[in-house]
């Protein structure tokens, strides 16, 4: 045992150690896809513009909204629940922010209202799930339709513009090297999520509650409260992602964020998060979201028609899930 640690590991051993790690599959998958794309970008710089600065910037802009939403959904899935209403929450909270701001209220109040609303929607979802014992899949399906309806009522199906102060805009769109600052926001939130999940007591409860609900309860953990906390975090992070996206494009359309709930779940599943709860990593969810955009980008660069994109994302989800099943059995 000790010898194997002291001995310098071979490349094969390093690879096996990586594969056995909790986020092993997604790291390997991500690196392979990136390496292939970069290689093609070097070999065919004229045809496959993967390494063009413009392309890299575009990708780094696209990732943060999904990544931040997926981080919240990931925490919730680890705690054993789903949230299908994040797409609606994303749009509704941003719309409320824009409406408040456009009614000449202070920006700070508009932003705080949006974040509080996101958390409140999460709280309501969680409370209904915990009190009624109806599966969260159903509760949040209802929640999704409900908030989508409210969105249409208050927006009158019209896109709302949002032009906040220059300072606030810079907070999310300032260029830092090849990326916009919002990518750094996503990294920061990922790190906070990691500390919470891996180094905080309540994060630890998420794994326990999702992994073995009865045991967690018998060991004195309030399962309902833990689940509600997970829903609140998901709602809050989704609202944050919605605000960020709205600042970037200066408007919020009522159909924005449609399908985001499934994209977020897909990112988590690709990243190795278990549908039944108890398993998942922050790195996995983040790379899962990044991988979805990488594949999208590669297909666009290959000038594949748009509908190929969904096909490929579909294939990747199934392959990633199959790899994770294999890892579980090892």
């Amino acid at each position: 045992m000790l010898e194997s640690i002291l001995k310098k590991p071979t490349a094969a051993e390093l690879y096996m150690r990586l594969r056995r790690g909790r986020a092993g599959n997604i790291i390997v998958l991500f690196v392979v896809v990136q390496a292939l794309a970069i290689l093609c970008g070097i070999v065919f710089p004229g045809n496959f513009r993967y390494l063009d600065q413009g392309n890299i910037q575009l990708m780094l802009k696209a990732i943060p909204s999904l990544a931040i939403t997926a981080l919240g959904v990931n925490l919730l899935m680890i705690a054993g629940e789903f949230d299908l209403s994040v797409g609606a929450t994303f749009t509704f909270t941003a719309l409320v922010m824009a409406k408040i701001f456009n009614a000449h209220m202070p920006l700070g109040i508009a932003v705080l209202a949006a974040l509080a609303l996101g958390a409140a929607i999460g709280f309501l979802n969680g409370l209904i799930v915990v009190k009624t014992n109806v599966p969260s899949f159903i509760v949040t399906l209802g929640s999704m339709w409900f908030w989508r309806g409210i969105i249409l009522i208050i927006s009158q199906a019209v896109t709302e513009s949002f032009y906040p102060s220059a300072f606030f805009t810079q907070l999310f769109t300032l260029n830092v090297g090849p990326m916009q600052i919002q990518f750094l926001w996503a990294l920061l939130i990922a790190m906070l999520c990691w500390f919470f999940l891996e180094r905080h007591k309540v994060g630890n409860f998420f794994f326990g509650v999702g992994g073995n609900r009865n045991a967690a309860s018998a060991l004195g953990v309030n399962v309902g409260r833990v689940k509600i906390i997970a829903f609140v975090i998901t709602g809050f992070l989704t609202a944050f992602a919605g605000i960020m996206s709205t600042v970037r494009i200066n408007s919020i359309s009522p159909i924005q964020g449609e399908g985001l709930e499934l994209q977020a779940i897909a990112a988590c599943v690709i990243g190795g998060t278990a549908l039944m709860g108890g398993r998942g990593t922050i790195l996995g969810a983040f790379l899962g979201a990044a991988l979805m955009f990488t594949i999208q980008d590669i297909l666009l660069l290959l000038q594949a028609p748009g509908f190929y994109l969904r096909m490929f994302v579909g294939i990747v989800i199934v392959i990633a899930a199959a790899l994770n099943e294999m890892l579980k059995k090892e």
Binding site: R199, H200, N204, A218, L219, V221, R279
Partner: protein
């Protein structure tokens, strides 16, 4: 011969737990009928009886999972009415059930500390300290065959190893009373011996242990006293000294 009335004869020591005339009904079914039960500090009690005797019900009442229909419970000299398993744990009563309440997706260290994590003031985990203490338990208190690191996932362990982790967890939080529900059912012969040695070691340190078991021979190796239940009634309450295992079995099957 065994005393069947259940009056307490050991006047010298006060029981840590005392149940007085407990009756428990599940709807129309009477699971316990006027049973009195106590555990002295530093005593191992074997709670034995056939299926449906009421052993599990009695354990569940002591561990805070069930409220008795009638009767009272005194713990540590105070009247007790536990609202949850947590409340019982806080009064020093730790239970290991047959299903062990382990979380398969987590490693050994996190299982040992689950629900009672060592934390900094804001709730952040003291991972290094938990790891060190978990190592200590695994190396000194209960050595588990085939376990090298507190970071092994519990889901990958054998039934015996899992049971040992559950026992290590219970031992780690030095409680006054340990309730064990069929503790040896998933252990190998060697693991069973190691386990029984640990139990005696804990008694020598002043801990009380209640072992619920079908396997009278395992209990007979360690128990100081036997309480035999049958159909919800206390049939006998007898010290091991002066009673053979065969006599005990006769009482269990005899009626």
């Amino acid at each position: 011969m065994p005393d069947t009335k259940g009056s307490r004869k050991d006047g010298a020591r006060t029981p840590y737990i005392e149940l007085k005339n407990i009756t428990h009904d599940y709807g129309a079914v009477r699971a316990l009928d006027d049973v009195s039960f106590w555990v002295l500090p530093g005593e191992i009690v074997g709670l034995v009886g056939d299926n449906g005797a009421g052993k599990s019900t009695l354990i569940k009442i002591i561990s805070g999972v069930l409220h008795p229909t009638r009767g009272e419970m005194i713990v540590g000299g105070r009247k007790a009415r536990f609202d949850s398993a947590r409340a019982a744990m806080e009064r020093g009563i730790e239970t290991i059930y047959q299903d062990m309440n382990l979380i398969d997706v987590m490693d050994i260290m996190r299982n040992i500390f689950f629900g009672r994590e060592l934390t900094h003031p804001l709730g952040f985990l003291k991972v290094k300290e938990m790891k060190k203490r978990a190592m200590d338990v695994l190396e000194k208190e209960i050595t588990i065959e085939g376990i090298r690191s507190p970071h092994q996932r519990v889901g990958n362990l054998s039934g015996g190893q899992k049971q040992a982790v559950a026992i290590a967890r219970a031992m780690f939080f030095k409680n006054q009373v340990l309730l064990l529900d069929e503790p040896t059912s998933a252990l190998s012969v060697r693991e069973t011996q190691a386990f029984l040695n640990h139990i005696m070691h804990l008694r020598d340190e002043g801990l009380s242990v209640v072992i619920v078991t079908h396997n009278l021979y395992h209990a007979y190796q360690v128990a100081d006293r036997f309480v035999i239940l049958s159909h919800g009634k206390k049939l006998a309450d007898t010290p091991r000294e002066g009673t053979s295992a065969e006599e005990l079995i006769k009482i269990i099957v005899g009626n």
